[in-house]
Amino acid sequence: MLSVAGLTRRFGDHLALDDVTFDVVPGRMTGFVGANGAGKTTTMRIVLGVLAPTAGQALWNGVPLTHEVRRDFGYMPEERGLYPKMKIRDQLVFFGRLHGLDPVRAEERTDKILDRLGLTERAGDMLETLSLGNQQRVQIAAALVHEPIALVLDEPFSGLDPLAVDAMVDLLREEVTPEVPVLFSSHQLELVERLCDDLVVLSRGKVVAAGPVASLAAGSSTTYRLVTDGDAGWLRDVRGITVRDVDGSSGLFDVTEAGQEQLVLQQAMSRGQVLEFGAERVALSDVFREATR
């Protein structure tokens, strides 16, 4: 398990991170969200040892991270970049070996990933001759080539079209084994909601929410929607609920007394047909807005 404990980082007078603590559980994708300047990149750089913390530390299975362990991590920095004038196959083999693979294994892995990304014919081309989308693929390949024991991806999907995102997600799902913790930051909340199991919300250098996406969303989810074939105005007379909105045959209400939603359903069925009934899912963006308010 990858954890950060009490991470604090100052840049001069500016407190970029303030006692940040969270876990990234193996086999689960942890989304790392927060406004610009919230401290996501700073946290990731400290985890990778590129930046030193002012206080606190990054841990691997409870032990402070060493260079040796970090060498097995996969990292995709926010500022993308590989060698522009190096052939992509040579480049991936180089990074594989830099991360500790032996030459034979590095070549096997490179060929496999290039094949998976559909870049086999371009293997001998310089990186700079590839389209930006393909360069981005090579970038993620560089983070995956050495079969990392943990993955830290800073905005891995920014700048990709939806199809490319899907291809990248498939690759991640295929490459990341159940013992690998994955931390990735993103601005694209729908994407985070779709992909992530856990969520860490950062605001002005502090963790304001953390936990499984489902429970974070359920925590504030007491709103139900009802759609019938008649007028739904009777909802206003039901006790134990607060009606948010009634519009003709449909209504939206919050449950204030547990179990009252069942009563509403029974009444609705006795009055006519129920076309739709269920808990309103709270969008992650609402969780995010609430947490960072």
Binding site: Y75, L98, A142
Partner: protein, 394 residues
């Protein structure tokens, strides 16, 4: 965890970085081009003078009779190689024509009390002197024979030999030439490869690949890989060029110069490697201070100065200054091997110079590594040296 334990660390990261530097250089057209260019220049410098000397055909001397021909042959004998050739002409008018038309260099004509050497607008002093000497000795031998003396008796007690109290190992002109050559080789290589190191560092900053590298391996390993890779390439380039000039010297029959250079060649290599290493750390720092190629002009200026000032010092300074320079680290790489060529240097001197250079190398590399670690990830803007020294470790 199991995957991590089963991984084998076959190579140190710095070795991988060094290998990448080398293979990149070997594919770099600019690098290959400049090496070939240097090869051509060196070969030209070795071979062309030999060719010019080889084309020197004997000077023709016009004579009227056998006596004149004998003088010319005697002069040729004194000079030792086929430098003069006899051309017979019928009379003085023909001789004058041959001289004016340039068919012969000079004409040797009998006169009342010896000979006249006839030239066009001048008489080459070498030819003039040897003809005069030959005419004098032939004439004196003839006079001596009339007086009953053998040539040996005549010459007894007239031999003059040269002896030197402080013989230098080399003729002065050759020594100076080789001295400048060695200093120039160091200067050019250190400057050329220094710029390449700085460029390779700033390219990694520019392309942002540096963050991945820094996450994968210690920054110090990155620095060492670059320094070692480029030192190996610099030495290889020197060796290739040295081998080419060696072959050139052998082919053109100038091998005797090698005997002179050979004793200091080993010293040169030691001074070269240490001096190069000391500077390589600084060049890497120069690259890490810049954020774009264009910044290199200003961030590499100190490095260029550290090379240029000692270079001119070691080549053009007088004796005492040169002796001082040969002990100052980095300057010593250019001055000491040259001094060992041109004068008798006691053994302790190069040893002390090497000890000082070694000390400086360790200090500079340490300082360089510290600066490099602090500045490498500052991709936002160009930094100055003073600012870099006050940066907190990141």
């Amino acid at each position: 965890m199991s995957t991590q334990q089963s991984r084998t660390r076959l190579q140190h990261p710095w070795q991988l970085v060094a290998l990448r530097e080398i293979s990149t250089k070997l594919r770099d057209k600019t690098f290959i081009g400049s090496t070939v260019f240097m090869l051509i220049v060196v070969m030209a410098a070795v071979i062309i003078p030999a060719l010019l000397a080889g084309n020197d055909s004997p000077d023709k001397v016009a004579v009227l009779d056998d006596a004149g021909a004998r003088v010319v042959q005697q002069a040729d004998l004194v000079n030792g190689d086929d430098s003069l050739e006899v051309t017979r002409v019928a009379d003085r008018a023909a001789a004058e024509r041959a001289v004016t038309d340039g068919d012969v260099a000079v004409a040797l004509l009998p006169a009342d009390n010896g000979y006249v050497v006839l030239g066009d607008d001048e008489v080459d002093s070498g030819i003039g002197n040897s003809l005069r000497e030959a005419a004098v000795s032939l004439g004196m031998f003839a006079n001596a024979a009339k007086a009953g003396l053998t040539p040996e008796q005549l010459q007894a007690g007239t031999a003059v030999q040269e002896q030197l109290l402080n013989p230098g190992p080399l003729p002065e002109i050759v020594a100076n030439f080789v001295n400048i050559g060695l200093a120039l080789a160091f200067y050019m290589t250190a400057l050329g490869f220094g710029m390449m190191i700085a460029q390779s560092v700033v390219q990694e900053k520019e392309s942002r690949v540096v963050e991945i590298l820094a996450a994968a391996i210690p920054i110090r390993a990155l620095l060492w890989g670059k320094v070692v890779g480029n030192t190996v390439m610099a030495l290889a380039q020197i060796v290739v060029i040295a081998a080419a000039s060696l072959i050139g010297l052998l082919v053109t029959g100038q091998a005797d110069i090698l005997e002179v250079i050979a004793p200091v060649a080993g010293w040169f290599v030691v001074f070269f490697v240490l001096g190069f290493l000391a500077l390589a750390g600084l060049w890497a720092v120069a690259g890490s201070l810049a954020t774009r190629q264009e910044d290199l002009g200003s961030t590499t200026l100190p490095g260029q100065m550290i090379l240029m000032v000692p270079f001119f010092f070691s080549v053009f300074a007088g004796g005492t200054a040169k002796t001082v320079a040969s002990f100052v680290p980095i300057a010593s790489s250019m001055a000491m091997p040259g001094r060992m060529l041109t004068e008798d240097v006691p053994l302790w001197q190069p040893l002390v110079a090497i000890a000082l250079l070694l000390l400086a190398t360790v200090l500079i590399i340490r300082l360089g590594a510290r600066l490099y670690e602090r500045t490498l990830l500052q991709t936002g803007r160009k930094l100055g040296y003073r600012e870099a020294l006050t940066l907190e470790p990141s």
